[in-house]
């Protein structure tokens, strides 16, 4: 019973406070307000989950309508209604409901990761600002529980909005979370531990610091972070994400609502795609392998060592459409000097929610670009390419930013061993396998370039450049023809 916009319902006009709004008839009233940029305090309502109506914050009065304030999440748009969220009765209801929320809530703000994006903090500033009359002993519940899949539970902070229990019931159907007990001793609990692939979303939907990310825990205050709206490169789904970063580093990946592709969620694999971006292993320049120690070397020195041989390339299938186009524009070599390495499929073809087995972010873009350039993008093409490698060749291998199957990658590395010189075009140096290479040359990460990826729907998904944490000024197009 989630409130997706019903495309074929007729639009009607109604009033919210003094504003005239247009929304589909029968649409959820609260959602209609939110869609029109109106701020309505709420906790339990979430567009991607069934209605609960338990927090009692989203109160409004309506004429014609019920005789007293009611929650707008349990109402629908009808033509010519006049809805008010600013009457004294409503404001008092909201203030007191907030006060009730805070009766037993622990004042953990100084040590709580949610600070700065906390529903209680935010609404307190807007609707609270009262002198607390609560001098009594608060109810204590179990804190600091590692409930699996990188999620920490603090039952005391929980406001029992039921978003998380509804998530594991209706979105993943895995039923790990529930509420036991009655009254103010009701408590969120996990049956054994979280076992689904979407547990990270629980942290996002929790309005307070009851469910927090173990990965993000205590690492950074959110008001020091900026968000970059980009696309996940974890598989061919191409979920829209917001990645939080600042000058110190990158901290986390959050889903960005996208009606066409991922809705409200991302999978747990997508949560860790940021880790290599600002990690210690980022290349800030070319590196030369001297007895398995990587020493900085200049670009020109590298170029000199590699000049004169046949330059061959194995591209990854997670580069952008623009990367491929620019590469093939610049590349002047033989048609059989370029091949495509695709990460192997993993898991179910489609898990029914978001995850797909093709772990390459741009299979379609790569194949289209190869075909357009008259190049062979097939698996057999790659095998032929590898069979034909010899000591006269310099092989450039674009190292995928995220490698799920190291064995599969190692097999590839064994096969390029017979090349004379091996160059890894890579973002980081902290892969053991890179010891096989003579040189490491830097590429920007997905978070340091603009561009597009073609996802499973053949939609162009946008990558946006955020801050730079390493050498990000050389793309594959540069290396396509850099020695001439």
């Amino acid at each position: 019973m989630s409130s997706e916009i019903i495309a074929d319902k007729k639009l009607v006009k109604f009033k919210w406070n003094d504003q005239v709004i247009e929304a589909p008839e029968g649409e959820n009233l609260l959602q209609a307000a939110l869609d029109n940029g109106i701020e309505v305090a709420h906790y339990c309502y979430h567009k991607g989950l069934p209605i609960a109506g338990v927090c009692r914050m989203c109160m409004v009065e309506q004429t014609p309508g019920p005789p007293r304030p009611f929650p707008s999440c349990n109402a629908i748009v009808a033509p010519e209604i006049a809805v008010r969220s600013d009457t004294p009765a409503v404001l008092e209801a909201v203030e007191w409901t907030l006060q009730f929320h805070l009766v037993n809530h622990p004042l953990d703000c100084p040590v709580c990761d949610q600070a700065g994006e906390c529903g209680l903090q935010d609404y307190y500033m807007q609707h609270g600002q009262y002198n607390s009359a609560m001098e009594d002993q608060k109810v204590h519940k179990k804190k600091v529980q590692d409930i699996g899949r990188g999620v920490m539970l603090d039952a005391e902070r929980c406001i029992l909005c039921t978003r998380c229990t509804r998530f594991t019931e209706y979105v993943t159907g895995t039923y790990e979370l529930g509420i036991v007990g009655r009254g103010d001793h009701a408590e969120i609990t996990v049956h054994k531990e979280l076992e689904n692939d979407y547990a990270g979303n629980l942290v996002d939907i929790c309005p307070v610091g009851a469910l927090t990310s173990k990965d993000f825990r205590f690492k950074q205050r959110v008001w020091f972070l900026e968000d970059v709206a980009t696309t996940c490169i974890g598989c061919e789904t191409g979920c829209a994400v917001n990645i939080s970063q600042n000058e110190v580093g990158v901290y986390r990946v959050l889903p960005k609502y996208d009606h066409e592709v991922n809705g409200h969620w991302i999978c747990d694999d997508g949560r860790s795609i940021y880790k290599h971006v600002s990690g210690a292993g980022r290349l800030i320049g070319p590196l030369e392998n001297k007895s398995n120690l990587f020493i900085p070397i200049t670009e020109s020195a590298t170029a000199n060592s590699l000049r004169g041989n046949s330059q061959k390339f194995i591209l990854s299938a997670s580069l952008t459409n623009e990367d491929y186009a620019n590469f093939f524009s610049a590349f002047k070599g033989e048609k059989d000097h370029v091949a495509l390495y695709r990460l192997p499929s993993m898991g179910k073809e489609f898990d029914g929610i978001l995850k797909r087995s093709d772990k390459n972010a741009n299979t379609r873009g790569a194949r289209e670009a190869f075909a357009k350039a008259g190049m062979d993008h097939s698996e057999t093409g790659l095998q032929d390419f590898l069979d034909n490698l010899n000591a006269q060749d310099v092989i450039y291998l674009v190292v995928p930013e995220i490698i799920y199957d190291e064995d599969h990658f190692m097999t590839l590395l064994k096969k390029i061993n017979k090349a004379g010189k091996k160059v890894a075009l890579t973002t980081t140096d902290n892969l053991q396998a890179l010891d096989a290479f003579d040189y490491l040359l830097p590429l920007p990460t997905f978070l340091e370039k603009d561009g597009h990826l073609k996802n499973f729907q053949n939609r162009d998904r946008k990558l946006s450049a955020g801050r730079s944490y390493g050498a990000s000024n050389r793309d594959i197009a540069f290396y396509a023809n850099w020695l001439n």
Binding site: Y175, E176, L177, G178, I179, V180, G181, R182, T189, H191
Partner: protein
């Protein structure tokens, strides 16, 4: 070591009959829990796992239900349950005092089985028998108006 919980043959038949009363399986959960508790004394995790499997209801839902109701116990109970009403009419006629005296006499805490495992005493809200205040339930039987002495006597007579 958790033993698997299985219904006795007689209870299996009752279980099957309960299912016929409803148009879906989940509705039968409360009567099934009553049945399981009658057999097992309390609703252990083995019971939960077994019922979860039998009825195809996620274990967390069963856990929630057990924790919600005063008559379902997720911890071991004494052989007999002594419920003492402490609501208005019964408190007026000594129900709370009785509850405290029984706890002291049998040297136990509320909802904690006695040392010998014979009884558990439970503070309850209105039992719907206010005309016989103060009123208690010994297992399924209502008794009232009850005095401390007669309550102790009746409890001692239990097997």
């Amino acid at each position: 070591m958790t033993e698997k919980f299985l219904f006795t043959a007689e209870n299996k038949a009752k279980y099957a009959e309960y299912l016929t009363r409803y148009d879906d399986v989940e509705s039968a959960l409360l009567p099934v829990l009553h049945l399981a508790q009658e057999q097992n004394g309390w609703l252990s995790s083995a019971v939960v796992a077994s019922i979860s499997e039998m009825m195809n209801i996620p274990a967390i839902k069963i856990q929630q239900v057990i924790s919600f109701y005063d008559m379902f116990y997720a911890h071991p109970m004494g052989k007999n349950i002594i419920q003492v009403c402490t609501n208005i009419s019964c408190s007026m006629y000594g129900g709370r005092k009785l509850h405290g005296e029984l706890l002291e006499h049998f040297q136990t805490e509320n909802l904690q089985p006695t040392q010998d495992g014979q009884i558990t005493i439970q503070k309850m809200e209105c039992l719907g028998a206010c005309e016989m205040a103060p009123c208690i339930r010994i297992n399924n039987d209502y008794m009232g108006p009850i005095t401390f002495e007669s309550a102790v006597k009746k409890i001692k007579e239990l097997s």
